[in-house]
């Protein structure tokens, strides 16, 4: 178990190095002078010069990368060309909102998706199964931003039940959560269904039936626990899609999160902020996958006792 943990932790190191390398070269792949790029088009020559010396852009590339890493460790992501605030400050201000939204969405996705998938798998080819199958197919085919707009038209503008955007009360959270969760609910339901169907056809389920156990017990104790193992992995991977969807959902609902920050920065060519926020997204995603691995080990004794 401890070995497994260490292995997983160490496996992250190359990924982190990869993320930073990618981001480091991202700026250098842009046409033109990186100092100018970072300072923004409106910056004065003095500002540009200052950034150049500050970042050591006149030094060889590997030294530049080393100092880039060094600054990262000190949480120094540079200044936003748009607001002149430190990038880390811009990110801190928005990160909690994105995390809140993502957590609400993933919770909702699990709470609805897993039971829906189980019910569909337990009664295959029944009307419930068809309903779940079709609904989840619709879910994964629906553009989230369109769903968001439609929900807004119905619930905010026409019925006036919920606020159309912004942040504040729990009511503000409902529409963005539903929108963001829609895709993932559908995905998890599909995955749960196929995973359960497979597990239910395993020999040990027949063994459990031959012991005369109640069907509910077989489904929950013998089947679901085994089926959860692949589902957990998928939930982790889906978190990535969720973060991608967050960019769109936040834009639709004017939700002040990291996603919107990225979009605004791309439109404003504020590269220091783009770099910083993508880095944070990458770290977040890596962290989630690590947690998933840990849960995985917790559920599956074959890994626990490796």
């Amino acid at each position: 178990m401890i070995n497994f943990l260490l292995k997983r932790l160490l496996a992250i190191i190359p990924v982190l190095l990869g993320i930073t390398l990618l981001l480091f070269f991202m700026l250098r792949m842009l046409p033109g002078d990186p100092a100018q790029v970072l300072a923004g088009q409106m910056a004065s020559p003095q500002d540009v010069e200052m950034i150049r010396t500050q970042l050591g852009l006149d030094q060889p590339v590997y030294i530049q990368y080393a100092s880039f890493l060094n600054r990262l460790v000190h949480l120094d992501l540079g200044l936003s060309a748009r607001t002149q605030n430190p990038v880390i400050q811009e990110i801190w201000a928005r990160l909690p909102n994105t995390i809140l939204l993502s957590l609400c969405a993933i919770t909702m996705a699990c709470v609805f998706g897993i039971p829906a998938g189980i019910i569909a798998a337990v009664r295959p080819y029944s009307w419930v199964d068809y309903l779940v199958t079709i609904a989840s197919l619709f879910g994964i085919s629906m553009p989230v931003f369109w769903l968001g707009i439609m929900l807004m038209i119905v619930f905010s503008m026409t019925l006036q039940w919920l606020p159309a955007g912004g942040i504040g009360t729990w009511k503000h959270l409902i529409l963005p959560t539903v929108t963001l969760a829609s895709f993932v609910v559908a995905f998890i339901a599909r995955m749960t269904r196929s995973s359960m169907l497979e597990v239910l056809s395993q020999d040990y389920v027949t063994t459990a039936r031959s012991k005369g156990l109640k069907e509910n017990l077989i489904i929950i104790k013998h089947a679901l626990k085994n089926a959860l193992i692949p589902i957990i992995t998928v939930v982790g991977l889906q978190f990535g899609l969720l973060l991608g969807g967050a960019v769109l959902t936040e834009t639709v609902f004017a939700w002040p999160g990291l996603g919107r920050l990225i979009v605004d920065s791309i439109l404003a060519r504020d590269y220091a902020v783009i770099q910083g926020s993508i880095l944070i997204f990458g770290l977040l995603y890596t962290l989630v996958n690590l947690v998933v691995d840990l849960i995985y080990a917790f559920v599956d004794p074959r890994i626990r006792y490796e």
């Binding site: 190359p14 990869g18 497979e198 993508i278 990458g282």
Partner: protein
Amino acid sequence: MNDIDINTKNNDSDSVGDIDSSSSRGWAKLKRNKAALVGGIFLLIYIVCAFGAPVLFWGNPSAPDLINSLSPPCAKYLLGTDELGRSILGRILYGSRVSLMIAVGVVGVGLLFGVPVGLISGYFGGKTDFIIQRFTDMLLAFPGFLLALALVAILGVGLKNTVISIGISMIPIYIRLVRGCVLTVREEVYVEAARASGTKDRHIILRHILPNVLAPIIVQTSLGMGTAILFAAGLGFLGIGVQPPTPEWGSMLGSARAYMMGKPHVATFPGIAIFLAVLSFNLLGDGLRDAFDPRSKI
């Protein structure tokens, strides 16, 4: 319990290993799959719209008609007009060309790089495999849409860059998929048999491995086209994808947001178009998987 298997599936000659071994049986199963059929029909309509846009819609989809701006559906404009009075129907029809082009282009980029690299990585293993795997790990450390977003930030907006960005973000998925399948197939006894009969590596890859990893690749191609359309529409919606005046569904939705208060139709129809296009690829992909690659999940 094995006995049941033998009775229901494997009994004797005609149906053993049926599940995915024979493509003719796969086709028969596909034809019986109603969902795939519906998907196929939608897809056909979609392709007809894309190729037949100039025949189906006379006129310029980008020509403004400011007098009739934001008109609701009427006889002249079946689906109404947008803020510049352009026919929404026309723009959706022409938009299908753009989205189909993107879908094909993106999956093309993914296949072109992902399949050969995945094959090599999986078949030969060793150091090459290690390096390729670290590279894909690195790309996969970013959620797909965010990777595309980052690439757009570097490359800039527009149709070509949209295709390249989303395409690159899909390459690691194909590499992983193909490599994983190759690793399984490589261990199959018939590959060992081919090696034992002195077959050259090149022939083993082409005759034995590729045909047997084709099914998941085809399934992923269909599903990947749906994802490509969703991603491209997302970028368009954010204003960093295909730029106006080129008719693109996502950017149509993006500009419709400002008018959704009183004129919901402007946002509704392009969304339905995206939804149906993606749905058709997903239905078809599901059907293909059930028919040809039933052991894989999702």
